[in-house]
Point group: D2
Chain length 161, copies 4
Amino acid sequence: MEMDALPADPAVQELLRPYPVRISLPVQWGDMDAMQHVNNTVYFRWFESGRVAYFERMGLLAGSEGSGVGPILHSTHCRYRVPLTYPDTVWVGTRVTEIGLDRVHFAHRIVSLAHGRVAAEGTAVVVTYDYREARKAPVPEPVRRRILALESEPVAVAGGA
Amino acid sequence: MEMDALPADPAVQELLRPYPVRISLPVQWGDMDAMQHVNNTVYFRWFESGRVAYFERMGLLAGSEGSGVGPILHSTHCRYRVPLTYPDTVWVGTRVTEIGLDRVHFAHRIVSLAHGRVAAEGTAVVVTYDYREARKAPVPEPVRRRILALESEPVAVAGGA
Amino acid sequence: MEMDALPADPAVQELLRPYPVRISLPVQWGDMDAMQHVNNTVYFRWFESGRVAYFERMGLLAGSEGSGVGPILHSTHCRYRVPLTYPDTVWVGTRVTEIGLDRVHFAHRIVSLAHGRVAAEGTAVVVTYDYREARKAPVPEPVRRRILALESEPVAVAGGA
Amino acid sequence: MEMDALPADPAVQELLRPYPVRISLPVQWGDMDAMQHVNNTVYFRWFESGRVAYFERMGLLAGSEGSGVGPILHSTHCRYRVPLTYPDTVWVGTRVTEIGLDRVHFAHRIVSLAHGRVAAEGTAVVVTYDYREARKAPVPEPVRRRILALESEPVAVAGGA
């Protein structure tokens, strides 16, 4: 898993450019199901790995910063475009599209090196949750600042005035 | 996995009533991740199991009917409502909400027996695919008829006239 | 997951009789891999679920009893006998074959209802670990007594006298 | 997944040297379970990926070579040595220790880059199976020759004379 590097193929680079956090993951033979394609649940594991890499960059992991505020997954979506098979390597690009008062919206893109194409795209909404108080919490200011520093594309930002 | 039966709890029965295909699945200890809740990918495995049970009822599995037409997953979504832990048993309700020309729209509901509540809701779009011709195919007439026979709730139906 | 009950089929009952802890689990469609049989890793998930059910019965879960002593997996083995496919239901029988000074030896048996036969057999060695002291700990006396109460078959017991 | 290359760390190189087939795999966050270590089943997925890489090198995949002879897993074992956590990268070394009349014995080693140590070791017995005849088959001669060419360490070889 090479963080944030870009693969050699310029076409693949272009597909990943809008995503500031990028990881690469091998397709394992056992990721395939009886239809002989990578199973639909595996893409969500890849999205999760992309988000965790982003969380590390934005300083949002449970108990990190001593704030007790961590992420909780609200909802997620995947649109499958190209069926994948072993062997292959995928790159997972992750970006933030919107910072809400108590949530962050992510976009994910899976690029297959074997196909040189987008294999799937997805979204996820993550709520910032105060695990000590057991309730939703505002997105911490340092987290918000790190997201904005990471993203060169415009990010919709809620509230704050 | 008891197919289509209903659990004893009347509140849970009510939550599953709109879903003609129902299966029950145990939460396994290993379904939990490091946050000590059932991992987000496991819900998609449960949705898949619900869809496969529905496919069996509607006669849509690859190569079934000798038509060569089988299902391929186009997209799927999950909205998480209650974090789950081992031990628990979930019921997965699956219904069809729309029959398109070359696709079927599913709605899934996960009900937790431990909570007596909806733990998650989801959707999936499945394209009917002719694996011999390698292209999308119309939803076969017998499949359409079986769906309509299964569903007592209204189903949006595209085209045909 | 029905704990410790026995299935209706008398031949299957016989196969499970030596195992005091028994759970049943559905085979899910997604448990199959590209060879169109249940993937080899799934059997270890089933063994784990069997052990966790046994741990609950013997009072050995991390932090339980306030002793800080919990289980840690030392090694595990599986011998595959019958390839499994969806749909099926498996019963997982778990018994203790030996209580060491700081470890417990388990035997697992997977019985397929579709085949009415043993589909796999396995073993696992679990070390009792003091998570506060970060070292192996003797098997707690109450745990040892509960194991002996559960097992009607002879159990090899180390040390103590 | 870099096939057969060796990592930069000389200590890790030394640990992998006896294994002619080597792949590297990232630990994903979701590989951890509620005990906050990589779950025991994940090691078997890694072993499987190592074997599949070896199968490719020895020309043994179902239907390959037009012989109809492919691998079927007979049994597998894992001895866990160091609990693993995300983030980490593991190298999986795979070698053949014995060629039987109708089976091949593998040894696996998992090396953690974060620890610079062996995290687990395992074995697997794979039977060569004629899927057309539905019975065990002798290890094909070309497969046997490729194994012997890959292995610099001595390999026990059954029969043949």
